[in-house]
């Protein structure tokens, strides 16, 4: 006997967002790092800063840390990030 069942998933497509314009070069630019504050981020971001400065000519690297590693970045960090040319974020554990 045929059984008709319902899809249990949200069936929603990912919300459409407009990506920021990508810089063609990072030379002379400002790059921000948003860390979740965990130990594992320290070495990773330090090495990444060296690579950005030495290999790609980044002028300035700004470090910011979220107040709660399990929640989105604080509003003041998001506001500040609008002044940066690029942002690196993600999970470091």
């Amino acid at each position: 006997m045929i059984i008709r069942v319902l899809d249990p998933t949200h069936e929603l497509k990912a919300a459409g967002v407009q990506p920021a314009e990508r810089p063609l070069s990072l030379k002379g630019k400002t790059v921000g790092f948003i860390s979740n504050g965990k130990e594992g981020t320290k070495g990773y971001f330090a090495q990444l800063e060296r690579m950005l400065r030495e290999d790609l000519g980044v002028a300035d690297v700004i470090f910011r840390t979220k107040s709660n590693y399990s929640a989105p970045a604080d509003a003041h960090i998001i506001d500040e990030a609008r002044q940066w040319h690029a942002v690196v974020t993600g999970v470091g554990d």
């Binding site: 045929i2 059984i3 319902l6 899809d7 249990p8 998933t9 949200h10 069936e11 399990s70 929640a71």
Partner: protein, 357 residues
């Protein structure tokens, strides 16, 4: 009647040959927790919605971090899959409303490497209506109602929030409560106020409390009739969790079964008395971390005191468990105070305007 007026369900449908084919469809798409599911048919889902007097598109809530809307229809589909009867559905829906409160931090709770599950504690008359058993084998498939309600929470996380292992769920080590983690309070077996009343819900209303919780840690003390000695054992287990897992304070739950509960009650202790005693006793010096291999993070604060509870109000004292045995359980929180337990009344409109005039 509601049925004739209710808008049609809008979920995509699939036709399968039989029960076994339904299982393979759901398992192969990653729509289950690994156990068989009840095929969610139109009739079963509509029965849940009718019981709760909810149209399919009723918004249960919006998850605040990812802005994911949760509708009654989709929640009911997952409740049916978990084995819920229509009378279980309002409890599932209320638990989800509570989980989507900002202070619960659902996204962090379900995506963290620090594996926790969502514990649901049921209070009020609805426990009796659904046949929830708060005594023998509480916390471990003690009855149909708590088993399927707890499972519905997890299945809905999988399917409505993409909380699948390796996807949104980045948990290093889970625990069996991630299949189902639900218990009812033994209100008939105690003189203490129900947990929901302690947390501000009027007496006589049914309610659920949700908490981001690690696995229960059992204690045993059958060798005293002194409430302080019994509660010291609970506090010691909390201190152990502070030393071995997370030192930071948050919502802990303690489950006190009848044998120990009768002793504490007979001595005149209330839940508030218990919480104040535990608050004073469940605390460690940061330097104790050095005793358990974590000396590297003591730093320059060895004498700093960390309390397991930010205040006595943060302890959830639950009367539950079988009638015999000097056992109890401590249920630690996920990562201190980053998440808060939330209590919500079932069937009460939390966002309604007060009546005019």
């Amino acid at each position: 009647m509601l049925r004739s007026n209710r808008p049609a369900l809008s979920s995509k449908t699939y036709d399968v040959d039989d029960f076994a084919a339904a299982q393979e469809l759901f398992h192969s798409n990653g729509w289950t927790d690994g156990l068989p599911v009840v095929p969610p048919t139109d009739a079963a889902v509509e029965a849940c919605l009718d019981w709760a007097l909810m149209p399919p598109d009723q918004l249960i809530g919006i998850e605040p971090v990812r802005a994911q809307p949760i509708t009654a229809e989709k929640l009911a589909v997952n409740a049916v899959m978990a084995g819920c009867l229509p009378m279980h559905f309002p409890i599932v829906a209320t638990a989800w409303q509570a989980m989507m409160k900002e202070e619960f931090l659902l996204h962090g709770v379900t995506s963290s490497t620090g594996g926790c599950a969502i514990l649901v504690i049921i209070n009020g008359p609805v426990r009796l209506e659904i046949g929830a058993n708060a005594t023998f084998n509480a916390l471990g498939n003690s009855d149909r109602a708590t088993s399927v309600i707890g499972r519905a929470i997890r299945l809905a996380l999988i399917n409505l929030m993409d909380v699948r292992p390796g996807g949104i769920d980045r948990t290093t080590l889970g625990h069996p409560g991630k299949f189902s983690y639900c218990l009812a309070e033994d209100e008939e077996g105690t003189d203490w106020q129900p947990l929901s009343v302690m947390r501000g819900i009027p007496q006589g209303l049914s309610a659920v409390t949700v908490m981001a919780a690690l696995a229960p840690r059992q204690i045993m003390n059958e060798w005293t009739t002194d409430p302080k000695e019994i509660l010291e054992t609970f506090a010691a287990e909390m201190r152990a969790n502070q030393r071995h897992y997370s030192i930071y304070g948050g919502n802990y739950a303690i489950v006190i079964p009848k044998q120990l509960r009768d002793i504490i009650q007979a001595a005149g202790w209330t839940k508030r008395d218990i919480a104040e005693f535990i608050y004073e006793r469940a605390r460690v010096r940061r330097g104790e971390w050095a005793d358990v291999g974590k000396g590297a993070i003591v730093r320059d604060r060895p004498n700093k005191i960390h309390t397991a509870l930010e205040s006595p109000d943060h302890l959830l004292v639950v009367a539950a468990g079988g009638p015999a045995g000097g056992f109890g359980a401590v249920i630690p929180p996920w990562m201190g105070s980053k998440t808060k337990a939330v209590t919500a009344a079932i069937g009460a409109c939390v966002d309604c305007e007060p009546p005019k005039g």
